[in-house]
């Protein structure tokens, strides 16, 4: 076999992996690779305007499609810019493979131009990383990178490529399969544990199903819906799990956690058996840990053993992939014709419906000023609940999660773990690449959108029409809300005294801009924007500056200590709670 260069090997590997899109930005150390990309047409390189956006776009593409996202950046600043994107993907367990250029092996450690210790810098925020020092190991390393990124609990994997490795030649051989003696994730759940779990689940008087992003990532939605409906139990989703169970179904009690619904949090607090699936008992969900589900025995299904009993001690742990374990549970229940306690369940549902009756997501409508919640409700109506929605981070993110009812997995894309402002726009672009025929909207705020604005140029270049729903209140709203409640309204650095004219800005990038100031114009503007199928439209909604996200569990509070809009006096949280963010 004719030896070929490392750059050629890399591009061939990408083709073998079926990579459609490579999000990246060129530079000195990756020139050989870019030269190879130039010579072929199978892998489409998307030239972003900032490396952070490359990773967010690949991440958004992956979250929407289920396929791994792929990134190529140069050494030094190229990779340090990418770090926020990598950490974002890591916290939400998104399979992204990042190729980074590196200075030639002979110069590593010499403080060469555009040199950083990439493997060192990224180590804490990747599932694994590699430095390829010998071109003969390149193909196998690429195979390993994709394998590790996409199996077990997924996550980002980085491959650092010194420039000389990309020009040195070797014979090309791409392994069909790789086996790592040190990495062998458990997929199939333990039958004995599953049996025990089923017994506990069916013995429940006040059961609660609590599911997270793991259901989405493992494509376990079908099994989740089947099991939940077989049992007739109430179900709540975490922020990351929204869409894995249809939000419009009557068994769905809404999102839980800090800004979850009253019924979801109360049902969590009062349940006697908690069935946690692909969720990790994050602090935004549990509130104060010693007040969490005080009377519950807990079953926890997760592919990552380290997620189990990390924050909350569980009674029946099951390590395995969600669809596998849930299918096994369904089979046990069906085969043995087991039935839940329907009498107790009826009683439990009456209680939950009573909590529901409080309508914790009710807000005071206005004909004068645009309420942000109202914009999301209209967005939901206009898109008939079918659009892929990405968000940035802050109040708008919570409102999108609360008022857009996601009925299918991979429809809701947001940075839940790291909470990265700036994620929404490039992620929307990535999602649009995955599904060019679907409507994609980025719900954002005037703070977040300014962190990745430059990607408007990328979206123009590649014609990825996204509808940007900017909930513009002139404030960093979520921080402002905390300052209002807990810092006696000392609004330190949360008001933007200068904002750009977003309409002109959108137009400057070649897109359509719209400014909407009256509640009566909201729906019309949205309809007009979504009718422009081939255009990116920036909808700048001027919203109520004082609106807050409710319900809210102030940190340090238990799940049953929620504050509801306009009903409770906001009291300053106690000292212990102030320590928690």
């Amino acid at each position: 076999m004719e030896p070929i260069t490392g750059a050629e090997i890399l591009v061939r590997c990408l083709k073998e992996e079926g990579v459609e899109y490579l999000f990246g930005y060129p530079g000195g150390s990756v020139l050989h690779i870019y030269d190879e990309l130039y010579k072929q047409e199978d892998v489409h390189h998307i030239l972003v305007r900032h490396e952070q956006a490359a990773v967010h776009a690949a991440d958004g593409y992956s979250r929407a499609s289920g396929k791994p996202g792929v990134v190529l950046v140069t050494s030094g600043p190229g990779v340090t810019n990418a770090v926020t994107g990598i950490a974002t993907a890591y916290m939400d367990s998104i399979p992204v493979v990042i190729f980074s250029g590196q200075v030639p092996t002979a110069l590593i450690g010499n403080d060469a131009f555009q040199e950083v210790d990439t493997v060192g810098i990224t180590r804490p925020c990747v599932k694994h990383n590699f430095l390829v020092k010998d071109v003969r190991q390149l193909a196998e390393t690429v195979k390993k990178a994709f394998y590790i990124a996409t199996t077990g609990r997924p996550g980002p994997v980085l491959v650092d490529l010194p420039k000389d490795v990309t020009i040195t030649k070797a014979e090309y051989h791409y392994p069909k399969k790789v086996k790592l003696r040190s990495y062998n994730p458990t997929v199939k759940g333990h039958a004995g544990q599953i049996r025990k779990a089923v017994d506990l689940i069916l013995s429940a008087k006040r059961p609660m199903i609590y599911t997270g992003g793991g259901v989405v990532l493992s494509d376990g939605s079908t099994e989740l819906v089947e099991l939940t409906q077989l049992l007739g139990y109430p179900i709540t989703n975490t922020l990351m799990g929204l869409g894995s169970y249809p939000a419009t179904d009557k068994q769905f009690v809404g999102m839980l956690g800090m800004h979850g619904t009253y019924e979801a949090n109360m049902a969590m607090h009062e349940c006697d058996v908690l069935i946690a699936i692909g969720a990790r008992f994050d602090d935004r969900v549990t509130g104060k840990i010693d007040k969490f589900c005080p009377g519950a025995r807990i079953v926890h299904v997760d592919i990552d053993p380290s997620s189990i009993s990390k924050n909350v001690k569980v009674d029946i742990p099951i390590v395995g992939s969600v669809p596998n374990v849930l299918r096994a549970m369904i089979n046990v229940i069906r085969d043995e014709k087991l039935k839940p306690d329907t009498h107790a369940l009826e009683h439990w549902w009456r209680q939950i419906d009573e909590w529901r009756g409080l309508e914790s997501l009710r807000y005071r409508p206005s004909t004068e000023v645009i309420k942000p919640q109202f914009v999301i409700e209209k967005l939901y109506q206009v898109t008939e609940g079918k659009a892929i929605i990405t968000s940035d981070v802050g109040q708008h993110q919570m409102w999108a999660a609360q008022y857009y009812h996601f009925d299918r997995p991979r429809q809701w894309i947001n940075s839940g773990g790291l909470g990265t402002m700036g994620f929404g726009l490039p992620a929307a672009m990535g999602a649009k690449f995955a599904f060019p025929d679907q409507d994609v909207a980025c719900v954002t705020g005037d703070g977040s959108i300014q962190m990745m604005l430059q990607e408007l140029a990328t979206m123009k270049q590649y014609r990825t029409p996204v509808k940007i729903v900017n909930l513009n209140n002139g404030y960093l709203g979520m921080v402002r809300q905390w300052q209002e409640f807990f810092y006696q309204k000392r609004y330190s650095m949360t008001y933007f005294e200068a904002l750009p004219n977003f309409v002109m800005l959108a137009e400057a990038y070649g897109h359509v801009g719209m400014r909407i100031e009256k509640p009566g114009d909201v729906e019309g503007a949205l309809r007009e924007a979504f009718a422009m199928k081939d255009r990116t439209v920036f909808l700048d909604f001027i919203t109520d500056q004082s609106e807050n996200v409710f319900p809210m569990i102030p940190s340090g509070g238990g799940q049953n200590e929620m504050l509801l809009a306009e009903r409770d006096e906001m009291v300053s949280t106690h000292e212990e709670g102030m320590v928690l963010v």
């Binding site: 804490p124 599932k127 430095l131 790592l180 040190s182 053993p305 380290s306």
Partner: protein, 167 residues
């Protein structure tokens, strides 16, 4: 439950650049404590054996073990504190050895089954191996101002009986 117990964890991992820093990084990133750490390749040059001493309550130790297992480079590990195990640490001590001290120091080294590896007209360099407590006891037995330098390897260990950790 909240007792901070000492644990000796022994890890078999891929002998690759950066593998050690992955372990060290994990401990610092998650706020776990490392009291000592020793590492060297095994008879199989593709594998390294890393032994560390840490402490924490049951829940913390469980997390440490799970997080270590999650590292891609970790092949296998064992918590030697949970089994019957042999523990050893090596210590090199340079002491003053002048006048009457000279005979006294030699006697002390013999009691602790140490070897004097290097001699000058005013110093001894003594090698000692054993459980960490034994080495602590030696240091306590020596007059404080007689100690010039102490070098300890950190504890390593192996399970008793037929049980063996291999890839």
């Amino acid at each position: 439950m909240n007792n901070n117990n000492r644990h000796l964890i022994s890890i078999l991992m891929e002998n690759e650049a950066g593998a050690l820093s992955r372990v060290a990084n994990l401990f610092s990133a998650r706020g776990y404590n490392i009291e000592s750490l020793t590492v060297a390749p095994t008879d199989d040059p593709t594998l390294s054996r890393l032994t560390l001493v840490t402490s924490g309550n049951e829940q913390i130790i469980e997390q440490i073990i799970k997080q270590l297992n999650k590292l891609i480079d970790v092949v296998k590990l064992i918590d030697l504190s949970e089994t019957d195990a042999i523990e050893r640490e090596l210590m090199l001590v340079k002491t003053r050895a002048t006048g009457e001290q000279r005979a006294e120091m030699k006697r002390l080294a013999e009691i602790f089954e140490g070897h004097i590896l290097d001699v000058t007209d005013s110093t001894y360099t003594i090698e000692l191996t054993g459980r960490s407590e034994k080495l602590d006891n030696f240091l306590r037995a020596v007059e404080k101002d007689a100690i010039l330098e102490v070098v300890r390897s950190g504890t390593t260990g192996i399970a008793r009986g037929q049980k063996a950790l291999h890839a």
